[in-house]
Amino acid sequence: MTSDQSHARHRLDEVIHAPVRFSIVAALASVDQAEFAVVRDAVEVSDSVLSKQVSTLEAAGYVKVRKGYVGKRPRTWLSLTKAGRAAYERHLAALREIAADPPLD
């Protein structure tokens, strides 16, 4: 490994790094699971944008999507998988290292 590759930025997770996906994962990390609409409102995106980003996270194995009913109303629940939570923790650790870097002159 070269010294360049040991820099913390190489440990950032490419899937989580995108701003909207980071917001989704950060929101889901605070709960066991949340309704699709709650995440949409917290992240302030449209249904279609959330749906698309969640599909990417689901394909990476980071988010689990569960569909069900409460009474007659269909509901979609989102949760972080174990792999998603671990990837998020690694991503945060890399961010902390970068944040602690002294500014370049």
Binding site: H17, V31, D32, A34, V38, R96, A99
Partner: protein, 146 residues
């Protein structure tokens, strides 16, 4: 992947530390629902003992228990968020309560048990049966607020 500056990293870390989806109402619902199920299991054990030898009363007790249980579960399912650690804490509390319940049934109704244990012992035991779920409910509610 684009490079990220320390300022951007700090901004993302700030977002991560301030984002919290759970709300007070959902936490209360999860905590109270869990505690209610514990009280129902402890209560049904006491009620079974009280109605011993009365099949109709026994059946009614069981039906009431089923209704309380179904109601509590349905009520909890209406939550829009589930607090962090809810599922695990609930499971631990539930299995501990159910294990104590089964022991209580064996104690009061097991083979060769023709007489009820003394109420001075059995009533506190019924409260003990509910305790793991009460503790779990408390932890779920207060854990969610941290």
């Amino acid at each position: 992947m684009d490079d990220i500056t320390p300022q951007q990293a700090r901004a993302q870390l700030d977002e991560a530390s301030t984002t919290h989806l759970g709300d007070e109402r959902d936490a209360l619902r999860a905590g109270l629902g869990t505690a209610l199920i514990g009280v129902a299991v402890g209560g049904v054990l006491a009620a079974f003992a009280l109605t011993r030898g009365h099949p109709v009363a026994n059946t009614l007790t069981f039906a009431a228990y089923g209704l309380v249980l179904a109601g509590a579960i349905q009520w909890m399912r209406r939550s829009r968020t589930s607090p962090r650690g809810h599922a695990r804490t609930y499971r631990v509390g539930f299995f501990a309560t159910m294990a104590l319940y089964v022991l209580g049934i064996a104690w009061a109704f097991g083979p060769g048990e023709t007489q009820m244990p003394p109420w001075a012992l059995f009533a506190p035991y019924c409260a003990l049966v509910a305790t793991p779920m009460l503790v779990a409910g408390h932890r779920i509610y207060h854990g969610a607020k941290k």
